[in-house]
Amino acid sequence: MGRLSAPATSPGAGAAPAAVPAEPAVPFVEIEAVRAKEFVPAAKEALTALVAEQGQRKLIQPVFNWAGRNSLFPLHWGLACCAIEFAAAFGARWDAERFGVVPRSSPRQCDLLIVNGTVTWKVAHKLVTLYEQMPEPKWVIAMGNCATGGGPFRTAYSVVPGVDKLVPVDVYIAGCPPRPEAMLDGILELEKLIRERKE
């Protein structure tokens, strides 16, 4: 089988070009150097690297992150004032569907809980239930001042001062209520978070 120009007695040299600097005139050294004996450890090494990389979630994860951040289904749930701006963001002028954001009514099919309004103690456990009904991976956006920290009703006896006391919040949007642009910006911020997601 052809000419073997590289010395066969260089087992340690995994990379072939380093082993054959003496005869640069032969053009097909590199191909011929890949013999079975050396191919197996090289392939093993490459595969190990690949597995390690996958172990660090560098191969498949970006693809899923791309998918996840481009198709965020928020829960169709209006709490208070911000819900109207939330609805306006799906109107003709802002059209959040451009970003693949489609509200779904069932929490099972959602991956984004937008808390758009004041959360009262009476609804608190229902909010937690809804959050827990959503399958992983899921995110929460606290939209507006009420959801962030109680807003103008902070001192009221019936209001939860910030929804982060109930569920983990990923993005806070300021405003009372935030404009639809601000809501879209919050969603884009969340997309940035998902882009760097590791698990």
Binding site: V128, T155, A156, Y157, S158
Partner: protein, 158 residues
């Protein structure tokens, strides 16, 4: 309709239970009655004077006593009228108006919940706005608003 007309119409039916009719800007007047004649007053206003629409029932806590204010509207006279009765704070109850105006149902539930005024013979007196078992009456003057930092949050998963 003027306060004097109201007094003239109500005095024969209520006698000394009618405590007076005060003028109130923008309405026909404020009828003050004794709570023992509550249903008679409601009937008189609803059946005879044509105040068929009960708009609102509100309770006011004056610390020593509590006041229940009924706002009525007459489609014929195109006027509002206030009914007002006072109840002592330690014995705050008055006859329910829901037998006369069905719309009183929710208003009375709210007044009971917020200002702690019990409405006798109410068909369904339970919490409306606060969760069941809520022990306080927020619109009493003695109920102070807290600072949320004082709160300790405990969520019970149901």
């Amino acid at each position: 309709m003027q306060p004097a007309d109201l007094e003239q119409a109500l005095r024969p039916r209520l006698g000394e239970h009618l405590l007076g009719v005060e003028p109130f800007e923008g309405t026909a007047g404020k009828v003050r009655f004794d709570r023992s004649a509550a249903v008679a007053t409601f009937r008189a206003l609803h059946d005879e004077l044509g105040f068929t629409h009960l708009a609102m029932i509100g309770g006011i806590d004056w610390v020593a006593h509590r006041e229940v204010v009924y706002t009525l509207w007459s489609d014929a006279a195109k006027q509002y009228v206030f009914l007002s009765t006072t109840v002592p704070a330690d014995d705050a109850h008055v006859e329910s108006a829901s037998g006369v105006w069905p719309s009183a149902n929710w208003h009375e539930r709210e007044a009971w919940e917020m200002v702690d005024i019990t409405f006798d013979h109410h068909p369904d007196l339970r919490h409306l706005l606060m969760p069941d078992g809520y022990a306080f009456h927020p619109l009493l003057r003695s109920f102070k608003l807290h600072e949320p930092e004082e709160l300790e949050v405990k969520v019970r998963h149901v």
